[in-house]
């Protein structure tokens, strides 16, 4: 049995023909009741369960997942991690997450392959350069690393991009965050699951929540395909399905669900060791350790729950990549898929009480919540354990849509999420 992972354990198991690896987590039958139930076994749900057990000592926690762990957006995303936001409130939340990512592999004894290869947001005109310097200033004032690159710096970091002066979108420079980068999405889900399980969390897969037990207007548990499970505190972290759960729980959300697509190409030799995003085309790419180019872009145009993409957006994203790096035009796609993301009106997440007593929500991460998994889980665990917001999550309470104190990051940082 190899419970602690190390170079030594890999070596020892290698000598034993890899027969000694134990399953990463138990698969227990649900108990009748828990202190806290988390709905959704994506990154946010699993991280929340881990921090509930580890930071707050909550003993009986269950994560209920209708499919398999990370089968939602957590296992479908392009794994870009960054904290290059505009508003101080966003920086606090996303940079907490980056800082937790920096230590995560050690903390949970599982290699999440966080590679701080940097992330650049390209600019294509002098006017964009001015806005970029404003963003860089804002990031620095908020205490986050940021550099304004000119075209020579960009060319040094990413020679594969299009530097021709007659390019449709000539590159003028970039906003660069060196601490940004990519991680391994499945490893984040599996690593948190394993660590949560070691702290006694019950992870229950293939169990769908079909309703809430509401008594006197207060939520007392959930109805599932494996029967009723009681708990006074329920955390819902189901991304694109947030509105479906809201309907069951008697609360309402300002969320639209959209398909978001991603693409991976055949493996090629190393051509790109950072992440580049062009706000002009909406496309971005990086290169995985296996050599495949990992490509993403904007949302599909039509609200939907279909976990598959459509061709108009596919064309938009891929033509954007070819505009950014024409040399890649002949590279073949290997796989192509979509996730189902939860888009909020101000492109910022919703963390807080749902409106139905006993139910708390963590959603609205839209196209950018992988980077936020450690931070989102950290503050959501605080909320579930204490019933009170962590200072960092308070600005993201859903009541901002009533008070008008929105955190419009789509306009603020000019970054598609």
């Amino acid at each position: 049995m190899s419970r602690h992972y190390s170079a030594f354990s890999v070596f020892r198991e290698g000598l034993r023909g890899h027969k000694g690896w134990a399953p990463l987590w138990r698969s227990p039958a649900p108990q009748d009741a828990y202190d806290v139930i988390i709905i959704g076994g994506g990154g946010h749900g699993l991280a929340t369960a881990y921090y509930l057990a580890k930071n707050h000592g909550v003993r009986k926690v269950a994560v209920i997942e209708k499919g398999w762990l990370g089968g939602g957006n957590t296992g479908r995303n392009t794994t870009v991690i960054r904290s290059n936001y505009f508003y101080p409130e966003s920086t606090q939340l996303y940079d907490l997450s980056v800082r937790l990512y920096e230590k995560l592999s050690r903390d949970i004894n599982y290699n999440v392959m966080f590679s701080q290869r940097g992330m650049m947001v390209l600019t294509h005109s002098e006017a964009e350069m001015e806005i970029a310097s404003r963003t860089v200033n804002a990031m620095q004032i908020n205490g986050v690393d940021a550099e304004l690159l000119d075209v020579k710096d960009v060319q040094k970091k990413a020679p594969i991009l299009n530097y021709r002066s007659d390019a449709r979108y000539p590159i003028h420079g970039a906003i660069y965050q060196g601490r940004g980068g990519t991680g391994r999405h499945d490893a984040v889900a599996w690593g948190y699951a394993r660590a949560a399980d070691q702290h006694g969390v019950d992870i229950i897969q293939n169990c769908e929540v079909t309703g809430f037990i509401i008594e006197g207007g207060v939520c007392k548990g959930v109805e599932t395909t494996l029967g009723k499970i009681r708990s006074d505190r329920i955390g819902v972290a189901v991304a694109g399905h947030s509105s479906v759960l809201a309907e069951m729980g008697g609360y309402s959300l300002p969320i639209h669900s959209y398909a978001l697509q991603a693409f991976v190409t055949e493996a090629i030799k190393p051509v790109m060791d950072t992440v580049a995003f062009s706000p002009m085309t909406g496309s971005y790419f990086s290169q995985s350790d296996k050599g495949g180019l990992v490509i993403g872009g904007g949302l599909d145009r039509i609200p939907s729950y279909a976990q598959r993409g459509n061709t108009p957006m596919q064309e938009t994203v891929l033509s954007g990549i070819i505009e950014m790096a024409p040399a890649l035009a002949k590279v073949k796609l290997l796989r192509h898929w979509a996730g189902n993301v939860d888009v909020s009106p101000d492109s910022s997440p919703l963390i807080g009480p749902s409106g139905t007593e006993g139910i708390y929500i963590n959603c609205g991460w839209g196209t950018g919540g992988f980077k936020a998994i450690p931070g989102g889980g950290y503050v959501f665990a605080h909320l579930l354990a204490t019933g009170q917001h962590h200072d960092i999550s308070r600005p993201f309470d859903p009541d901002r849509f009533r008070t008008g104190r929105l955190l419009d990051e789509a306009a603020g940082s000019g970054i598609a999420h």
Binding site: S243, V244, S257, I302, P312, R402
Partner: protein
Amino acid sequence: MQRFPCPFCGLRDEREFRFAGEAGKTRPDTTQEVSDKEWANYLFFCKNAKGPTCEIWVHTTCQEYFVMERDSATMEVLDTTPMRKDVA
């Protein structure tokens, strides 16, 4: 590529259409006192139903606004109704 039926032009490429909003929302009566909650509900909150939905769409090329009933999970179009009233 999906094609949507415009009540005026017939079946057209999905890129010509825009989702305008969920059907059935009424702007609060601003001659009366309107609470923050009512405004928030009108402006931001929505059903976002999985399955059959009833929405307002616009065919951008002819500017026809119409109600489209469709299934948000299968993407099947169930029905369309013009919003235009005939001039008497």
